[in-house]
Structures are given as C-alpha cells and as structure tokens.
C-alpha cells in the first residue's frame, strides 16, 4: 500500500465518523444551535475547546517554528496556554452565570448600549474571518501534499465537510465532532513524537526525552548537543533567545490576553450546564491543550537534531546529494526545501552563516518528521488526518461565531427584533453557509498577509474585548461611556501600529523604530493598557451606571441561580 492509499483510507474513515456524529446530534432550536442546549459535560467541553483552539497552525506550524526559534519559541507556548488561567479565573464562570449566547450580548447588556454591542459584533466577525481563512488554506495544503489533488479541490472538499456538520448541527454537532477530532489529532501528534523520542533518547515520554541524554552512547544531553551544534553552525545557542526581553514579555502577554478575549474561545463556556462546570471545563481544556503544547517543544528539538544530522552528516562535512534520503527530494518537489550547491562539492550543508546551502520551510517539520524518522506509512497518513482534523475543528468553531454574530447579535438584537426562534435558526444556517463560501474563497485566493493577520486578531482581541469584559465584571462603576471610549482607543491604537508596520511601511519594521522596542506582535498588550486607562478616566467624569446594571453585576458574581443559557 502506498502513502496515498493509506491517507485516503484514514482520512476517509475520519470523515465518515464526523458526518455520522453530525446526523446523530443535529440541532432543533437556536439554543441547541448556539450553545448546544447548555448540556455538554465539562470534560467533553474541555476536549472540544482544545480541538477548537488548536488550529492547523498549532498542529502543523508550531513545532517547526519553535525548532527554528529555540528559546524564543516559548512565547507561543506560554502565550497560547497562559490565557486559559485568565479565562478560568476571571472570565468564564461570570460569563456563564450571565447566561446569554455571545460576547456582544454581554457587552451590549452590561453597557446598556447598542453602540457597544455593534462595536463588539464588528470585532467578533472580523477576528473570526481572518482566522478561518488560514484554516481553509491549511486543509488545502494537507490535501495537496498527501493526496496529490490540487489545493482548490482540497479546499472544496474541506468546505463540504464543514458545511455539512456546522450548518446541520450548529454548536451541538460541532462540539461532539470536535471531541472526535481532538482524539484524532492528539493521537496523530503523539505517535510520531513517541517513536522519535524512543529512537533518540530511549524515553517513551517525549517530555522526559527532551531533557535526557542522547541514545548514541555519547552521554551528552540532547539540549547540550543541540546548543553545541547550533553554535558550530553559526546560529545562536538553541536555549538562548535573540529577541529582547521586553519584546518577549509583551508578545507573550498579547497572546495570553488575546486568547482570553477571542470570541470563539469564550463562547465555549456558555455550553456547559453550571457555573462550576465552566470553571473546571477551562481546566480540562488546558489539560488537553497542554498534552500537545508540552510535546511540541520536545518534538521541535528532536526534529532539529535529526535534520541537522541528516543533512550535514555525522562528521558535519555535508551529505552527498545523491545519497540524500527520499524525503529531501519529496519535499524539494513542493518547493519547501531547496538546495543550492554554492561550493560545488556535491554535498548539502545547512548552517546559519555564509556556508549555508539549504532553504528549509518551517512548516514541513511536523509533516516531514515521520518520513525523516522513517516511520511506517500508516503513521504518515495519520499525521495528514490529524492536520485536517485540527483545521476543520477550528474552522467550524469560528463559523459558528460568525453565524451567531449575524443571526443573533445583528438581526435579532439589532435589525429584526421580532423574528421567531425558527426564523432566527434559519438565518443562522444561512449565515453559516455564506461564511463557509467566503472562507473557502479566501482559502483558495489567500490574501498575501494571512500570517500577519493572525497577530492582528490577537492584538485586536486583547486591546478591545479583554478590558471591556474584565471591567464589566470587576468594576460596578464602569459605564458605557468609559467602555466604548476604552474599546475604541485600544483598538485604534493597536490597529494603527500594526497596519503601519505590516502594510504601509514594512521596510521600517525593525527594532530601532519600534515604540519602546515592542514589535507589532506584542503591541496589543500596550493597546490593552491604553484601553484600561482611558476607560477608567472617562468613567470617572461621566454619569454613574444605572441601578439595574449594578444589580446585574452583583448577580453574576456568585453562582447561585444560574439557569440554562437563554435568549431573554
């Protein structure tokens, strides 16, 4: 059996499971469509949240990114997990007690203002669309590499599957499908990692192998070996960073605060039955995420040693091109590896200085890892299925936020308040369908800046939603004037900074020109601080919040009397 047949079988099998679950759990009301009837068990919800959260980028790109960044890669590891502590302690239980469907619902009601609600809806839709475009692209890449169909066909197949279960099942279908997708993706991630850890260090658990001695009888620790190799080749030592401390600090904070402000993550905590379930569900989500996120840096270091040894050879003299393993030529065909024989000795050589002859794309590390480690073909097929599961689960969660924002926040709460539950459900499905088509179009014709836009999404979420929600819960005095002024100033500052350095004047995007040495990736943290300060000052000089809102804040601060999520 060749790789293509194996991939087709495994991916096809997982699709049958997803569609089966969708038919079994289709939604009959807006309550089921938006928040799965509020009846999801916290552990299942944690698993679904983890699948929702871990996108194609986490699955395919993150280990590769860390493998090239070394210590600096820690910003992604801490940044994309630490936000869950904020969610569990400061947001999820209170928003669950509030008991509505969406983040704009909370902003609109807490700040008794349609303007605030509209600002929130626009932010939610924008953030979600930028994300989902990247996911569809991820589906396309996996299909084209492993099934050798072109990217467009890959995207269309992916759209079809998501369309089926998101439109039919809403949140209920999506949640149960995501549980299955989590199992597929974590299995697909761990199997190669465990194999490679055993090969290189003799440890079954990659997190232990990461800090263990090499299996080659030399008695050196893996990370010492990697530091030595990196320095010989003209890179910074793997365990040292090259970013400035303030920049690492601000990027980590922006990713954490952005995570805690992303609407498609927050909405997950509306789907559990009780406030205490919302608390523990965030914990379970982080357990399931941490399994992948603590494996990724181990995998990154294994892959790096493996790759350097394969290309440069055990004597670090370079490997003859004719003797190169087959994965080098396989990935050369996709253009993701290139070799230029600068010194004309017929040997490949990889280094961080002028001796370098290789260009290796970061994204191939996870996908090529099973081939580099010469694992059986079913493992390679499994990794393809895992990548697709990661991309599909995240797209579905995002599409739900888009459709809810349109049908519930925009139509029901703004433009057409008199529509019935059935009509609202119909509009939600139409919005999901339109959303999928737009996402698919963006996946096939990606704007050149999908990668940059991710930083944008986190920065915007951190500088807009996060302070507005925190102040809404922890300060009774915060009024609509303060919240709106804060959100607008935070978002405007962050957006202007990112747009200037990423789109208007990319040539100026160097540390010397940055404000306080903070890169555009980390500027959301400063935007958040501006939001907090502006909101507090404006609220001091404007009228107090009405008594009814003070009572609302009082009531979300303890769990007693939390009912199911309700529209009214």
């Amino acid at each position: 059996m060749d790789i293509q047949t194996a991939t087709l079988l495994i991916v096809g099998f997982t699709f049958v499971i997803y569609i089966g679950i969708a038919i079994w759990s289709r939604a009959g009301s807006t309550n089921e469509f938006y928040v799965a009837g509020g009846g999801i068990h916290p552990v299942a919800n944690g698993m679904a949240t983890a699948a929702d959260w871990m996108s194609a980028a986490s699955f395919i790109s993150m280990a590769g990114l860390i493998s090239f960044l070394g210590y600096d890669g820690g910003v992604y590891l801490m940044g994309w997990t630490g936000g869950y502590v904020l969610l569990a302690l400061c947001l999820a239980p209170y928003l669950r007690k509030f008991g509505k469907f969406t983040v704009p619902d909370f902003i609109g009601d807490r700040y008794y203002s349609q303007t605030a609600r509209t600002v929130a809806v626009v932010c939610a839709i924008f953030v979600s669309f930028t994300y989902v475009a990247g996911q569809m692209r991820g589906v396309g890449v996996v299909f084209s590499r492993f099934l050798e169909v072109d990217i467009t066909t890959g995207v269309v197949i992916g759209m079809g599957v998501v369309f089926f279960y998101a439109v039919l099942g809403g949140m209920k279908g999506i949640t149960y499908t995501q549980v299955a997708q989590y199992c597929v993706l974590i299995f697909a991630y761990l199997v190669p990692a465990i194999f490679i850890s055993i090969m290189m260090t003799g440890h079954v658990i990659p997190q232990l192998g990461f800090g263990a001695e090499m299996n080659d009888g030399s008695g050196t620790y893996l990370l010492d070996k990697l530091d030595g190799l990196s320095q010989e080749l003209g890179f910074t030592a793997y365990t040292d960073g090259s970013k400035s401390t303030i920049d690492v600090f601000f990027i980590t904070a922006a990713l954490m605060l952005g995570t805690a402000g992303l609407p498609h993550v927050i909405v997950r905590f509306f789907t559990v039955p009780k406030v205490r379930d919302a608390r523990s569900s965030a914990g379970w989500a982080l357990v399931f995420i941490a399994i992948l996120y603590t494996t990724a840096p181990a995998l990154a270091s294994f892959a790096r040693v493996n790759m350097i040894n394969t290309i440069n050879g055990p004597e670090a003299q370079g490997t003859l091109y004719e003797e190169a393993p087959s994965w080098v030529s396989n990935w050369e065909k996709t253009g993701l590896i290139t070799w230029e024989d600068k010194n004309a000795d017929g040997r490949m050589f990889y280094a961080g200085d002028e001796r370098n002859e290789m260009k290796i794309d970061r994204d191939i590390m996870v996908l090529a890892n099973p081939e580099i480690a010469q694992l059986p073909i079913w493992v390679i097929a499994l990794v393809a299925a895992g990548g697709i599961a990661a991309a599909l689960s995240t797209s579905a969660g995002l599409l739900l936020v888009i459709s809810t924002s349109v049908s519930h926040d925009l139509l029901k709460r703004n433009l057409m308040p008199n529509i019935s539950d059935r009509q609202e459900l119909f509009y939600a499905r139409v919005a999901a369908a339109v959303g999928i088509c737009v996402a698919g179009y963006l996946g096939i014709n990606p704007p050149g800046f999908v990668a940059q836009v991710v930083a944008f999404a986190f920065g915007l979420a951190a500088s807009s939603f996060f302070p507005a929600i925190i102040l809404g819960i922890f300060s009774k005095r915060m009024n609509k004037e303060g919240a709106i002024a804060g959100m607008l100033s935070g978002i405007t500052f962050t957006a202007a900074y990112i747009i200037y350095f990423k789109f208007i004047n990319p040539a100026a995007n160097v540390p010397d020109n940055w404000l306080l040495g903070i890169s555009p990736e980390g500027i959301g943290t400063l935007g958040m601080l501006i939001n907090f300060i502006v909101a507090i000052i404006v609220s001091k000089v404007t009228t107090a919040t009405p008594d009814s809102v003070q009572e609302l804040v009082e009531s979300i601060r303890h769990p007693k009397g939390a009912g199911g999520a309700a529209a009214h």
Partner: protein
C-alpha cells in the same frame, strides 16, 4: 437575594478576589518571572538535561497553569458551599 446579608456578599467577593489574585501571582511568577525576566539567572541551574529557565519557559509554566486552574476550581467550590451560594443539583 442569594446571600443572608450585604456583609456576607461582600465577604464572599473579598475571599474570591483574594484567591484569584494569589493564584494570578503564581501565574505571573512562573511565566513572566521564571520564563522571561529571570531566565538568564535561572539558566545557571541545571534541571536534568535542561537549563532551569528554559524548562520553565517551554514546560514548567504550562504544567503550573494546569495545576492553578484545578486549585481554583476546588477552592471556589468550597467557598460557594461555605457561603451557601452553590448551584442546586437539578
């Protein structure tokens, strides 16, 4: 009114805030402290094959985050029961 008195409500909220802030202090110290600000200093210490600061940045902080959330869950559930504001088991 879920609480017996205004004082009880205020005491519950104070206890909640105190718990939250102390856990967030740990959250800050392991990630921003050990993983970023003090990383060079901690890197002088060996922890198995890791430099300690590097380990906190790529492994230790994440494990600590998981523990923090479950400590919070257990302590809050107890606090809810002590003040009689837990949810009814329906």
């Amino acid at each position: 009114m879920a609480f017996e008195s205004k004082e009880k409500a205020a005491a519950y909220w104070r206890a909640n805030i105190r718990l939250m802030l102390s856990l967030l202090a740990v959250w800050f110290v392991v990630s921003y402290g050990f993983g970023i600000l003090l990383v060079d200093w901690l890197d002088q210490v060996r922890f198995f094959g890791f430099k300690l600061g590097f380990w906190f940045s790529q492994q230790g902080s994440i494990f600590t985050f998981v523990v923090l959330i479950f400590v919070y869950v257990a302590r809050m559930n107890k606090l809810d029961r002590d003040f009689g504001v837990q949810e009814d088991d329906s």
